[in-house]
């Protein structure tokens, strides 16, 4: 059988769009200046940096361009948001609320803060991974200084009621951060409407280069930097600025924003075709995450009696790239905390498969996957002791 390279792991990372690469290239060579230098070389870099900042502010509907801080990765942005807020506001209290389905960089930042004497409350989710804002309201204490809730989950694609949570936070005067890595420039985001004080987004999930991300910090928010040095990024993130990557980040967000409506419609159609096809063609298969409140490009399934790493590697032999929340496919050998938080048993999480689509996913990719995946599951079930 002919192997057809089929990349369905866009939630992990994406290729750089050629238009983005073209915009970046001059900033490696002739426009190489340091954005803080005063001469013309520096000015040129600074102009490019500020153009990207302005694109981000516009896309997020931030009031002020100075509310955007560029960092090297979403992990860094989330670390800055969680730890920087904790350090700056600990005189007011040491209680932080997060959800049980945060990305590991939020989860582990919070776990680390626990060791420094902070108190962490993890909000539970329902079986679709949806957070109930009322649960957050109930968890708020006098000493709560920060609430951080993921906008759309990276594994199951469930979209959280950020605006409702934002309203609660505003009413209770508690800082609110959201990790919008999977949703930014894919679905509409308005930081003013959503009432968020901090927001994380990343470039490489959006056809931009790796090594660029942002943290939106609303004016007046009390935060401590984690990286000390020069005065870059308004003193909140020292380090020579990675201008080429940020130029690429800006360019890609500009494109994504322009194409968002059409692209999200196109991807939603492919997503639903894949979901319906899989559930119809494969017995004992289930959808993880919410059937409606989910990212346009995310699918996440589970199959009884088979293990996820084996599914991935069999698909890989046909050229199909996906990911899994099984213990065997993780470095820690633990099943996905997100799937367990949704109430799945470990053996159900072991049988999970995430397929995420993007700009270059075509209908023929979905058709090919719908041809191969049932074969893969059938083959592995033949070997499994749990199938009679």
């Amino acid at each position: 059988m002919k192997v057809i390279k089929t990349y369905l792991d866009y939630a992990a990372t994406t290729p750089v769009d050629p238009r983005v690469l073209k915009a970046m290239l001059p900033y490696f060579t002739e426009k190489f200046g340091n954005s803080v230098s005063l001469h013309s070389f520096g000015e040129e870099a600074k102009r490019a940096l500020e153009k990207s900042r302005s694109i981000m502010a516009k896309t997020l509907n931030a009031k002020n361009e100075n509310e955007i801080i560029f960092t090297s990765s979403a992990t860094e942005s989330n670390n800055l948001a969680i730890k920087g807020m904790a350090f700056a506001n600990q005189n007011k209290g040491k209680h932080i609320i997060i959800s049980s389905i945060e990305h590991s960089c939020v989860l582990n930042s919070a776990e680390w803060l626990k060791k420094q004497g902070f108190k962490i409350t993890k909000i539970k989710v329902d079986k679709y991974g949806v957070i109930n804002p009322k649960e957050i309201e109930k968890a708020i204490r006098k000493d709560t200084i920060l609430i951080s809730i993921i906008h759309a989950n990276n594994e199951i694609g469930t979209i959280e009621p950020i605006e409702e949570i934002g309203n609660i936070c505003e009413k209770k005067k508690i800082y609110f951060h959201t990790d919008a890595v999977q949703s930014f420039a894919k679905i509409p985001i308005d930081v003013q409407k959503m009432r968020v004080d901090l927001l994380t987004a990343s470039s490489h999930k959006l056809y931009g280069p790796k090594g660029a991300a942002l943290l939106y910090i609303k004016k007046g928010t009390n935060i401590e930097p984690l990286i000390h040095g020069g005065d870059h990024e308004f003193g909140l993130r020292a380090s020579t600025v990675n201008v080429p990557a940020i130029v690429g980040f800006g360019k890609t967000v500009e494109i994504c924003e322009k194409e968002m409506k059409k692209e999200s419609k196109r991807l939603s159609k492919l997503r639903d075709k894949l979901i319906n096809g899989v559930l119809k063609k494969i017995s004992d298969s289930y959808l993880n995450g919410h059937p409606k409140k989910r990212l346009p490009n995310n699918t996440n399934f589970r199959f009884s009696y088979v293990e996820g790493e084996a599914i991935l590697m069999d698909l890989n032999s046909y050229g199909i790239a996906g990911s899994s929340g099984s213990a065997c496919s993780s470095e820690k050998l633990e099943p996905s905390h997100v799937l367990l938080a949704c109430g799945l048993r470990p053996e159900q999480a072991h049988g999970s498969l995430r397929l995420t689509m993007g700009r270059w996913t075509k209908e023929k990719d979905i058709n090919y996957t719908l041809k191969i995946l049932p074969k893969t599951i059938k083959k592995l079930r033949k070997i499994s002791p749990y199938v009679q």
């Binding site: 293990e307 084996a310 069999d314 470095e331 470990p346």
Partner: protein, 156 residues
Amino acid sequence: MYNKKVLQHFKSPHNFGKIKNPDGIGKVGNIICGDVMWIYIKIGNNKKGEEIIKDIKFETYGCVAALASSSIVTDLAKGKTIEQALKINQEEMIKSLGGLPPIKTHCSILAVDALLEAIYDYSIKNKKIISKELEKHHKRVEREEKIIEEKYKEWS
């Protein structure tokens, strides 16, 4: 991550399936952990009258390493005398696979465990003399099962 040989065994595993009325079954692993292996054996005699593993089959739930290990261990054991089969160990198996990623070696232990448990099961059922080593091995498998059950108590 995996070498060619491992992937070959994974893609086209040898000796998978059930044996009807097996002489011995070894069931090891825990689905909560992510790997379960069942090995079935049929015992016969060679020309010298020694007992041999005439047929062997496996059923495995697990990752690539677990599936490939199951396949190779059945290859190694098939046609061997019981005495020879008892000598199969993890090192030999990993070597026959051309190596496994370090993080995956623990999956391969299960394959040897399942084989020895199947021989143990046959020996008990047929009132054969059980060597000290096989007894020790059986006790270790039992102990490990208890530890895992204890670890995943909340899920039982």
